[in-house]
């Protein structure tokens, strides 16, 4: 159409297509002129349900398509099993076929309309124009689907960033993080000596103090740069002649917000923290302030691990939550974050055990077991206790006698863990339960009964007891036990099939028409990200892992192992890992948001609260879960 600048001068249908495009990536981040270019060059085609859209026989791809309405299914012929597999689905607002178009080759996948479908498309020359004119468009095309995933991660990061910038971090008193030992010198020290001292301590500033430790000046790397660049003075000049006099000082009880305001006002990157006598006690740098919340993992773990009181442990739990925020903000993926949460939880559990042993040693060595999500190292902030005890019966004692000593101890530990935020297990799967405080032989018997006489009730427990790990105490007894359990399951095809059947019950929340299937939560429609989203992955993967002798309990690691063993196709394994991780990421982000609003944590979300991109990603992730279940179905002929 004509060169039109303002939106109003564009034809209605061009504007409508631009509005449609704007709701979807990558168009959402593209300039209007580029969107207009797309809309004005677009053709709109209709494909009835089952019509071929593009096929490998069409030759080199010359068009770029966007689904306007309906859905496209990718089909590949599986020669080995002589059937057609659906390899992907493209829904409203999504683009195809990127790889083939960029690679100037035919598509390798038959694209077929799934339901009546309208697609917008542009020809290669318009595509190339856009590709060279629009950065977001080019980035998107080059990175393809992976950039979708990046965008989700970016969004998680930015919301976590927002919570870091929130007032609750800036109203913390300076003394909580400014107590870094300041590097100081006397006013007569030559500049080069002072700089050497800064260098040795890898700091960017040095405070000049008088005899009574009152700060009289500050010298920073920026001052050094000016000094040298402007030949102001030789390097052996006493520092008092070149320092900035009377540095800004704040008392230790001032808060970070005041400090940030002062720095912004005076353009200083450092300020001194002083006590009531105006004696220097620390330095705060701009960087300190803006990474206030960057709780150091190692440091936090050490603090937890050396805490001497339960109440310290309890108070440190907020730091754990803050750390999660920070991790997400700095782009850690959900797999890393859940592992870190688990690590910190482990440290906490260990410390609670150690403190109790110190106070009241039961006198019998034991292994503290953890089951379920903690066993899989997949804990998020919403977590309850699933634990047990494994002991070797000492000479001359009966198992019941051991239990008499261990159970009261376990009772206290369970209570104290509850105070630390690990909710008591409603199903009483806790070490203080006599049925879960067992000797090695008893556990072995327990598993024999569990595997050989599997009842529906047993199978419910499979998600707990078949994902287990030692958190405290000797690990050898557990390894021996696990070996036996694994080899028993490998030999027991019936048990495997029952496990598979059980896992197959847990359907991803998609209807036949690929809409979300909701659970009812009061009046609201909701998806349960844990039960409906993650569980289908976890449960199916567990069946394959146990059946193939994979010892680790972590779902992502299990998938890696299964791919290594050739049980999973590496591409499938990657897609499944990605799907699983994305659901986990969306779940964690929702937890952080609830936490920041002071609301109770839940795994339920309303998909309408998500943006279209997240909804699409959830849908695709659920579809991956369906594919994984199809493999289960085929393998075990369910």
């Amino acid at each position: 159409m004509a060169a039109a600048n303002s939106d109003n001068s564009r034809p209605q249908n061009t504007r409508a297509i631009m509005t449609f495009l704007r709701e979807h990536a990558p168009f959402s981040s593209m300039d209007d002129t580029h969107l207009a270019l797309f809309a004005e060059h677009a053709t709109l085609r209709f494909y009835a349900d089952g019509d071929e859209v593009i096929s490998p026989d069409d030759g080199i791809i010359k068009r770029f398509y966007v689904v306007k309405q309906g859905r496209i299914r990718g089909e590949r012929h599986n020669a080995k099993e002589d059937r057609t597999d659906t390899t992907f689905e493209i829904s409203m607002g999504e683009c195809f076929p990127l790889a083939a178009l960029i690679g100037e080759r035919p598509t390798r996948t038959l694209h077929r309309a799934a339901g009546d479908t309208f697609c917008l498309s542009i020809e290669q020359d318009a595509f190339i124009t856009l590709f060279s004119a629009s950065d977001p468009f080019r980035d998107f095309c080059l990175r393809g689907v992976s950039s979708l995933l990046d965008q989700v991660n970016q969004r998680i990061q930015s919301s976590a960033m927002a919570s870091i910038g929130s007032s609750n971090s800036l109203d913390t008193p300076l003394e909580r993080y400014a107590l870094r030992n300041p590097i100081v010198c006397s006013p007569d020290l030559p500049v080069d000596k002072a700089v050497a001292r800064m260098h040795d301590n890898s700091v960017g500033s040095i405070i000049v103090t008088d005899d009574s430790r009152h700060p009289t000046g500050i010298f920073t790397l920026r001052d050094l740069r000016t000094l040298i660049a402007e030949h102001k003075a030789p390097l052996d000049t006493p520092i008092r002649q070149v320092m900035t006099q009377d540095p800004i000082c704040l008392p230790a009880h001032a808060d970070a917000f005041e400090a940030a305001m002062l720095m912004a006002e005076h353009h200083f990157a450092h300020l001194c923290v002083v006590d009531d006598e105006h004696c220097l006690i620390g330095v705060v740098s701009e960087r300190d302030l803006f990474s206030l919340q960057r709780v150091d993992l190692v440091n936090l773990a050490r603090t937890i691990g050396t805490a001497t009181h339960l109440r310290t442990l309890v108070s440190l739990r907020t730091d754990v939550s803050r750390l999660v925020d920070t991790m997400l903000a700095h782009g850690a993926d959900s797999g890393q974050v859940v592992k870190i949460i688990t690590t910190l939880n482990d440290v906490t559990v260990r410390r609670v055990l150690e403190l109790n042993i110190k106070k009241n040693d039961p006198g019998i060595p034991f292994t503290w077991l953890t089951f379920g999500s903690e066993g899989r190292q997949e804990q998020t902030l919403l977590t309850d206790q699933d634990n047990g005890i494994l002991f070797e019966t000492p000479e001359g004692m009966t198992e019941d006698q051991v239990r008499e000593k261990l159970l009261p101890f376990a009772q206290t530990v369970n209570q104290e863990l509850a105070e630390c935020g690990f909710t008591l297990c409603k199903g009483n799967i806790m070490a203080s339960n006599p049925k879960l405080c067992l000797s090695d032989d008893e556990w072995d018997d327990w598993f024999i009964r569990f595997i050989d006489a599997s009842t529906p009730q047993n199978l419910v427990y499979s998600s707990i007891f078949l994902d287990m790990r030692a958190v405290y105490g000797p690990t050898k007894p557990l390894e021996k036990l696990l070996d036996k359990v694994l080899s028993r399951i490998r030999k027991n095809a019936l048990f495997q099939k029952m496990l598979a059947g059980n896992a197959f019950q847990r359907k991803p929340p998609l209807t036949m028409f690929r809409n979300f299937r909701y659970v009812t939560d009061g009046n609201k429609q909701a998806l349960d990200l844990k039960r409906q989203g993650l569980a289908p992955f976890v449960e199916s993967v567990r069946v394959f892992a146990l059946a193939n002798g994979v010892g680790t309990a972590n779902t992502l690691e299990r998938m890696d192992e299964l791919a290594k063993k050739g049980v999973f196709d590496p591409k499938d394994a990657n897609a499944w890992k990605e799907g699983y991780s994305l659901i986990q990421a969306i779940r964690m982000r929702s937890h952080q948001e609830l936490l920041n609003r002071g609301e109770e944590l839940t795994n339920l979300i309303d998909p309408d609260d998500l943006n279209p991109l997240d909804r699409r990603i959830l849908r695709e992730s659920f579809r991956q879960a369906q594919r994984l279940q199809q493999k289960l179905e085929l393998t075990y002929q369910l």
Partner: protein
């Protein structure tokens, strides 16, 4: 659009003022063996000041072209005519075109000439096409003295022919769009309605080709036959 028309007029008038020769306009095409898969079709919608062709007037024309079996958005027509003298108070609430928009419209004559040139004599489809045909032909006649008639086909006929089992909630454009999950980007906007009508047309043509209808004549005959059948049932 305005730019387009100006450029076109400059080209055709060669800078001279005065009227265009009606004879030089493209001739209307009759439905022959043009293949549905590559012929060009016009899908058009008008907004008028009312329903009475004898006294009401056209105020907006929206149209898209289907060619190569697809709607080409580079080939569309979207114009509000300059008709400030018309009383539009009755219908202004429906289509949202107020006096201001009308005065910013284009010289009716220029716009209509451009429309004819743009249509290129190709067959015209519209939803309840009798209405649009009556209004457009009347306007062309009174404004330009143009009397040739295009081939018109009614999308409201086309749909029940190819979707005999479909049960829309009524006979209107809204009913059919709703049935197929289509939605106009703006209600009672000529261009938006034309696009939805074109989308329905694509669906019907898709089905027609599967039913073995390859060219325009076959399509035209099929519609004609359907019409006659309907009329017979009426007696």
């Amino acid at each position: 659009m305005l730019e387009h028309i100006k450029q076109w007029l400059d080209r055709h008038r060669g800078g001279r003022s005065g009227h265009l020769d009606l004879e030089s306009l493209p001739n209307a095409k009759t439905p022959g063996d043009q293949l549905l898969s590559d012929c060009r079709l016009i899908v058009l919608d008008l907004e008028t000041t009312g329903l009475n062709a004898a006294k009401d007037e056209v105020i907006a024309i929206g149209a898209v072209a289907i060619s190569g079996g697809a709607i080409q958005l580079s080939d569309q027509f979207d114009l509000i005519l300059r008709r400030p003298e018309l009383d539009i108070t009755e219908t202004v609430l429906i289509h949202g075109i107020g006096n201001e928009a009308l005065t910013q419209g284009h010289e009716t004559e220029d716009a209509l000439l451009y429309l004819l040139e743009w249509m290129n004599g190709d067959p015209v489809l519209a939803f309840h096409s009798a209405f649009d045909q009556k209004f457009l032909e009347k306007t062309l006649r009174s404004q330009l003295g143009y009397t040739a008639s295009h081939t018109w086909m009614d999308v409201a006929d086309l749909l029940p022919v190819f979707f005999p089992k479909a049960k829309p909630g009524g006979k209107g454009l809204d009913h059919w769009s709703e049935l197929f999950g289509l939605e106009a980007s703006a209600r009672h906007n000529a261009a938006a309605d034309a696009l939805v009508t074109a989308e329905l047309t694509l669906m019907a043509l898709n089905r027609a080709q599967k039913d073995g209808i390859k060219n325009l004549r076959q399509l035209h005959d099929k519609l004609h036959y359907h019409r006659r059948l309907q009329n017979m049932h009426r007696f």
